[in-house]
Point group: C2
Chain length 560, copies 2
């Protein structure tokens, strides 16, 4: 077992010989694992063939492709490929991009072939390997530096047609796919950020999974699941005994910066502290954003509020200029006039709270609205949602769920077609913008999620439709030459009848070890033959206790 | 048509919409092309499943994997992957290797699972994408910076077992595979270099193909094909009128370095000139190697003769030291004593020949053995073989063939197992070295070669077993609503009967254009239906002229 492999899916898959870990986030699929991956991808393929045409785009792209869409600079998990040694660079000193997704590649292809309104709508997809320069990967197959994914791209003459396809075609195809994969019951559709592409939401298919990396906030009233990043939340009120304003003080606290450390130092609850961050926007301005201690700032939410494309934490020099202090002591008092202030709603109605002193090493305590600075006309919600936060509509805490994202559908609108000037000719000969959508399913991730969902203390429990084999055969007659011959005949007979059976034909392994390995590998049906079973076969389903004695014909019938 | 796309395979595949060129050596497979690639890979898979187990190794590897085998420095087409932009490198400033072949990856996996003599022999394979930092790629799908390949690796307890598997199992499987791919008649097995792995030859499956990048030299007497790199050749004699030694002279010829230019300048035949190169060996010595003008030096052949691992062209300083002249004027006269001299057999028996003067800007003419320097005891064969060269055994010129390598089988011996200390335990509990072989088939290259082999002036002509569809349907009844309806019914009927048919249902394209496109796309059978054909179908095979009128039942039967 590789060190630091904490995820259950990787632990079991490695132990049972389905995968081999090459490095964090990169796995080889051994024969058993590849059989499962193939079945998953075949199900995805069959459902996607109903709504689009399969093709295959490469991993390498010329830099120009990613420069044309501007994404070469902004995608922060992008890899490039360059010669690995002097001899290689001497032969060809070029740089190429390793695609982490293929919008930049498919758009020019579509532009070449489909330009008349008559050609639309259409969709193309592929199932292919992707590369992402992920900093930390510790969820086994749930997050990879190299992983396999189905990505489909749809093309439309209007936003309406895009949304139509999205709702009436892609979404049902996805629901069907996850049903067939055995994840139907535990997979929900969640609203997520539309990124830079749209003001609207994107949709994620999220599977309930304790080891998942996402948290969904469930709005029971409206039956909506929100990804944490877009859940509209209200901070629960925290009340204290003090009900009048205390005198404001500046307290020295050199080098004490984090809110938890600060709360301890000042002997106040963390909710009395404030986290203030300064950002530079792409418009060139500086803003200050403040949340109640205990919350973090969600830059995605904040960007939408500020209406800017990018937010960068202000550099040391800017901080010094607008606060008069070193980094770490920023508050909202006495800030430069040209700094626009945004306050999260968790700031509302606070009394006697702490805030950076805008003076190196100093923190202001017992700060109060009205007396020390004006309460703003408007509060916002730009905090990272936390378990326990309230649904603003009902004032009740959200139910939250830990999940893993197995698919997403994303309205790209005209982001990529605009970037490369892809238009179509309408009925009147006019050039109009092309609307696009993208639709992903991580096939290797699905494999990992299936293990997370379907296992017990003994090992994995594969749903029949993706199991590496239909049956796991343990023949206990191998000790004698005659028994071995009979066992081989039986196995060959099953092969002829096209039953997918894994035969554990090891001779130097005990029956007990074979039973344990069968449970670990998790094939749906275990077949045992021994001198005792006569001309019948012992049938046991993985995850169930009872065994049955079946004739060979009955067994084959049931397996089919 | 992309500029600079000279290869017939790429031209036709692009024109017919099978592939889309992303950059030199990198193609997207469009739906038609992917269908062909899939069929090719399925044939390869079926044949390989008989001799090994399928798995799937990744594209990325940690650097350590390639450091362990030492190949990180020596493989001159190796890519590495690094963050493509500042944000990416900031998140993860690591470097990974992009595998161009997987010996370095499979050996540690095998080491983990198979260590007892009882486990051997075994073979594992995968069909996967490969990346190579090729400097120039201009042969379409025959040479890629990204390409797909099947690579199988076999593991053995002895060299004998390896050679046995190689001859009795791998070679027949390959012959069968190429037969099924439609390349059986035009594919031969050629001897090629064993590289650093073995003194013996490796074997290449080479398909006769005018646009191929390889040249085979055919030894008719022994019925052996040699790759150019290992063909043992004798230079044909060139004789001139002069039959006595002329006085040697040093002639000034500043900056005249290439043999052709020099021959013109000196007004002598190029065969009278000499090419002398100086190399530094990995042992630290310097050698001089000389061939008759008109030949090049094959470093692979020379390395075996010198018995060294690497040869590097001597640097300027070394050249100055051992010749007393600047680069470009090296000859064999008056060289430093510690330079070992090797002469190709093309030097044998020459009279009044030219040679670098070992004096800047000077060339010696009318050099002669015996008088000016000793004829060596031994001549060698280290020239790059040329068309017209003689088979030393028969003194007859070789027949030569232009070919493309579609597969190879390579005895790796203990190169990789030694590098990582992979041994097995024999019957007596002793640790012994593991022997390995590797066996490749380039599946995307096979696709390109099929086009090169099977096309005419109208387009491609696919062998049935790899054709994207069984039949190409042109229904000329699309002009009326009723006709269109009938056409759709007919198509749906074929779909139900699981005939793989491509229906050209474009309404705004002429019949002539459709016929031309059918020829271009090259599906084996063209079906035409019109008002004239009645309830029959016109059947025409691609590449043949005659048409036949068949009933629908007969047509379906023939297509199956």
């Amino acid at each position: 077992m590789p060190k630091n492999e904490m995820a259950v899916n990787a632990q079991l898959l490695i132990r049972a010989g389905f995968v081999h870990k090459e490095m964090a986030g990169v796995y080889s699929f051994l024969p058993l694992g590849l059989r499962v991956l193939r079945k998953i991808e075949q199900i995805v393929r069959e459902e996607m063939d109903k709504i689009g045409q399969e093709m295959l785009m490469p991993g390498l792209a010329p830099k120009k492709t990613w420069e044309d869409t501007g994404r070469i600079k902004t995608v922060d998990v992008l890899f490039k490929a360059v010669g690995a040694n002097e001899a290689s660079r001497k032969k060809n000193d070029a740089e190429y991009i390793l695609n982490c997704t293929q919008e930049d590649v498919i758009t020019p292809i579509a532009k070449q072939f489909f330009t008349s309104y008559k050609d639309f709508p259409f969709a193309l997809y592929h199932i292919q390997v992707k590369y992402r320069n992920e900093p930390r990967v510790k969820s086994g197959l749930l997050r990879g530096r190299e992983f396999r994914m189905k990505d489909l791209y749809s093309f439309h003459t209007s936003e309406e047609s895009l949304l139509d396809y999205y709702e009436a075609i892609a979404k049902p195809a996805y629901v069907k796919t996850f049903e067939r994969l055995g994840l139907g019951d535990s997979t929900v559709i969640a609203l997520a950020s539309g990124g830079d592409f749209t003001e609207k939401y994107s949709h994620e298919f999220q599977t309930m999974c304790e080891t998942g990396e996402d948290t969904l906030f469930y709005d029971e009233k409206n039956n909506i699941y929100y990804n944490r990043e877009v859940a509209p939340v209200k901070a629960p009120k925290v009340t204290y005994k003090d009900n009048e304003m205390f005198p404001r003080e500046d307290v020295e606290g050199k080098g004490i910066i984090g809110v938890d450390e600060l709360a301890l130092y000042l002997k106040i609850p963390v909710e009395k502290t404030t986290k203030t961050l300064l950002f530079e926007t792409d418009g060139g301005g500086v803003i200050a954003a403040a949340v109640r201690g205990g919350y973090d700032i969600d830059e995605g939410k904040l960007k939408k509020i500020v209406k800017c494309k990018s937010l960068l934490l202000a550099g040391e020099e800017t901080v010094r200029k607008v606060t008069g202090a070193e980094v770490g002591y920023a508050g909202l008092l006495n800030l430069s006039d040209n700094v626009k202030i945004y306050m999260d709603e968790s700031m509302k109605g606070r009394l006697n709270f702490e805030m950076g002193g805008n003076k190196t090493n100093f923190h202001s305590v017992n700060v109060n609205f009205g007396r020390d600075f004006d309460e703003p006309d408007q509060f916002y919600d730009f905090k990272v949602a936390k378990e326990g936060d309230l649904n603003p509509e009902t004032n009740e805490p959200y139910k939250t769920f830990t999940t893993s994202e197995v698919g997403n559908i994303f309205p790209l609108n005209t982001k990529f077609s605009d970037a490369i000037g892809y238009t179509y000719t309408d009925e009147n000969g006019k050039q109009k913008p092309v609307f696009m959508g993208s639709y992903g399913i991580g096939t290797t991730r699905v494999l990992g999620v299936l293990v997370e969902k379907y296992h017990d203390e003994k090992g994995m429990i594969w749903p029949k439709q993706v199991a590496p084999f239909d049956a796991h055969l343990i023949d206990l007659r191998l000790q004698t030459v005659d028994g071995r011959k009979k066992a081989e005949e039986f196995y060959n007979q099953l092969q002829k009848q096209r039953v997918e059976v894994l035969w554990d034909d090891r001779e130097d392994v005990s029956a007990g070890q074979k039973f344990a390995d069968a449970d670990l590998i998790g094939i749906p049906v275990r077949l045992v033959i021994s001198e005792k079973t006569g001309d019948k076969v012992e049938w046991k389903e993985r995850g169930k206790k009872e065994t049955r004695s079946l004739s060979v014909e009955e067994m084959v019938r049931k397996l089919r």
